[in-house]
Amino acid sequence: MSGTERPAGGRRAEAGRRTGRPGGARRAATRTGQYTALLAYLLFLAFPFLWLVSTAFKPPRELGSLHPTWIPEAPTLENFRLAFEQQPLLAAAGNSLLAAAASALVAIALATPMAYILARYRGRLSRAATGWVVVSQAFPLVLVIIPLFLILKGLHLVDSRTGLIMVYVVWSLPFALWMLTGYVRAVPPELEEAAAVDGAGRVRTLVSVTAPLLAPGIAATALFAFVTAWNEFFFALVLLKSPEKQTLPVVLTHFIGTEGVADLGPLAAAALLATLPSLLVFAVIQRRITGGMLAGAVKS
């Protein structure tokens, strides 16, 4: 480096001095702008949830106010009491939990070996399978529901939790497979080769080397499958007939009447309860998901 050359930072600092705005101040301004934008975006995302929380604790008279407030003036738990009194929310939550957890577990159990095969053994078949996965995401629900209904009826699986779980597995499998394939590709094959050189067998390599590295990806994919099934409405509406088997999203519609009129307080209370499991699961495994998603995102 010659004596006349200066580092880029130095040039920026000088430019900053010439314009009266030092580089540090510009960076700080940029950062402030970024944080402001981020905060605005978070508020935008959080608004419906915060409004839901607020509504769930409001008495009916505050719900009918022309000037609604964020914090209820006379907060009440009455909406929760009514929600539980009117609809079998606990049983419905249990059904949703069963369907979501079971379908996530089965989807992961199926998708993990499939993803491994697709990622590691690239050939005509794996390319075709990957293509099919992408195409399958384009099918609209209404196109598949009647044939699916007839197939399940033939198997005596209409109005059956098993049938619903199977549908959820099939529905979430392509995307789970797609996600997991990315995560598997992010694990360098050289690590498996090194393990083989050290004398580890195939199973030992998979269990001791590959599986731990895949864990964040598996957690993220399982969460995706869980949340998809937890929120799913249409299949549950159509396939489950018995009241004791209905899931939470279906039961929530029972608070809505003709012309869209709703029993707003109990509906908000029930909807708030319905969002909690997803939030809790996210909170518990948030770090793993973040790590897993980033790993899957950057590796082609």
């Binding site: 719900l63 089965v106 159990a109 053994y121 007839l150 198997l155 059956s160």
Partner: protein, 442 residues
């Protein structure tokens, strides 16, 4: 590394093994289901009927569940299972159920949703099943709402007139005549009252017209408007004659000419207008009779409101699409299902259902019940209107839902907001509308 893996024999074996396992797992997941829960329609000679109800209000739910329990207690051989449905999803849910042959035995719905199911052969013809008591108790004009091709496909049991819910204090202050069911306002008097009730930023009326078609059509019946006319060859055509135009023009002029109606509420649902109504922003809101429950729950302490009859034209008639009870064509126990419907709609039970939903029963005997003739919450006003309720003009027309969604809803919304004139609306509703209907009548 693919080549490296394939170079070893264990690698090849594992690949096959993995592929086999991947193929076997879906089949393994299928197996438990094959021996799983099966539909049990009857066991030990006992018949079990599924009754899908759309009751959603607290008292209505309670009434339905109590009635089912009462029936089950007295009929050990014919048990009814209460299944909760929802208004928002009932059409799609029934459609797939019928296609899959898994429909509930007894179906609660609205009469304007029955036409396609009736013509499609999904619903049982109840004509020969109806008990004489029920047939005589419900008036002919109510039966018309659920009659298609001369066959009855549902028992109409609850109905909802449109009324004007008004701020009584504002009405008194303005000095306008308070209309009664015996002497309702004419459409001209209503428009004049709305003008007198408009002060500063407060409007005389707020029309919640997010769904403008059924409100417009049903109210237009009072001026003789029908829009849908059946020709001698049985085909239906749309016309938009002078009698059809009175109600839409009144609403349009209130919003755009004399500004006695709020423009902002045109895109709202009924419940959305209530905060403004409670705050005194609007003196009157045309709503369904059942909205009284929301008002009772949400109105501020001391808020003085009343129910007024809808304005009259050449008559007091207005169109309704009552709630109905039908039986699925696939139901193997139709007589038993009808026996349950008959029980559910006995006059005292019909009264319980009506009170629970804040609606009017169709049964004449139920309508005479003192509980439905009290002044409290203006039950008496609504009951007095029951005789003027007629079958909604469009509900038996095939293709009506498409006409409504694609042609009439955007057309009326644009007309009411002032974006197009009456001639443009007429052209769309009639010319484009008839093209839509023609597809269904080939």
């Amino acid at each position: 590394m693919r080549d490296g893996n394939e170079a070893t024999a264990p690698g090849r074996w594992n690949r096959r093994g993995l592929l086999a396992a991947a193929a076997a797992l879906p089949a393994a997941a299928l197996l438990p289901g094959c021996s799983g829960e099966r539909r049990r329609r009857s066991s030990g000679g006992r018949i079990t009927l599924r009754f899908q109800s759309l009751a959603w209000q607290r008292d209505s739910l309670k009434a339905n569940e109590q009635l089912v329990a009462e029936w089950n207690a007295h009929h050990p051989d014919i048990q009814v299972r209460y299944v909760q449905g929802a208004w928002a999803t009932v059409h799609d849910q029934l459609l797939t159920s019928f296609e899959g042959g898994e429909a509930p035995d007894i179906i609660h719905d609205a009469s304007d949703d029955l036409a396609d199911f009736a013509y499609g052969g999904d619903l049982a013809d109840l004509t020969a099943l109806l008990p004489a008591r029920l047939r005589q108790d419900i008036p002919r004009h109510s039966w018309e709402t659920a009659t298609f091709n001369g066959r009855v496909y549902g028992v109409p049991f609850l109905q909802e007139p449109r009324v004007l819910i008004a701020n009584r204090a504002k009405l008194r202050r303005s000095g306008v005549r308070l209309p009664t069911p015996e002497r309702p306002w004419t459409w001209e008097e209503f428009a004049e009252a709305a003008r007198r009730l408009t002060r500063g930023s407060d409007y005389g009326v707020a029309w919640p017209l997010k769904e403008p078609v059924s409100a417009t059509l049903n109210l237009a019946l009072s001026t003789g408007g029908r829009l849908f006319h059946r020709r001698p060859d049985g085909k239906v055509e749309v016309r938009f004659d002078a009698v059809d135009q009175v109600v839409p023009r009144t609403i349009h002029d209130q919003v755009n000419v004399d500004r006695s109606a709020s423009r902002t509420t045109l895109g709202m649902g009924g419940a959305d207008t209530l905060p403004g109504f409670f705050a005194g922003r609007y003196a009157m809101v045309p709503l369904g009779f059942s909205y009284r429950q929301q008002i009772v729950q949400q109105a501020p302490e001391g808020f003085d409101w009343t129910v007024l009859p809808a304005p009259r034209g050449t008559s007091t008639a207005q169109g309704v699409s009552p709630q109905t009870l039908s039986i699925a064509e696939d139901c193997p126990h139709k007589e038993e299902a009808m026996a349950f419907i008959d029980f559910l709609l006995r006059p005292p039970n019909m009264v319980r259902l009506a009170l629970g939903d804040w609606l009017l029963p169709t049964g004449q005997e139920a309508l005479r019940d003192p509980a439905l003739r009290v002044a409290k919450h203006d039950w008496a006003t609504g009951t007095a209107l029951a005789g003027s309720l007629r079958s909604a003009p469009a509900q038996s027309v095939r293709g009506y839902p498409e006409w409504k969604d694609k042609i009439a809803t955007p057309g009326l919304q644009e007309y009411y907001s002032g974006a197009i004139g009456l001639a443009a609306l007429r052209k769309r509703v009639v010319r484009d509308g008839n093209l839509v209907l023609a597809r269904y009548q080939r």
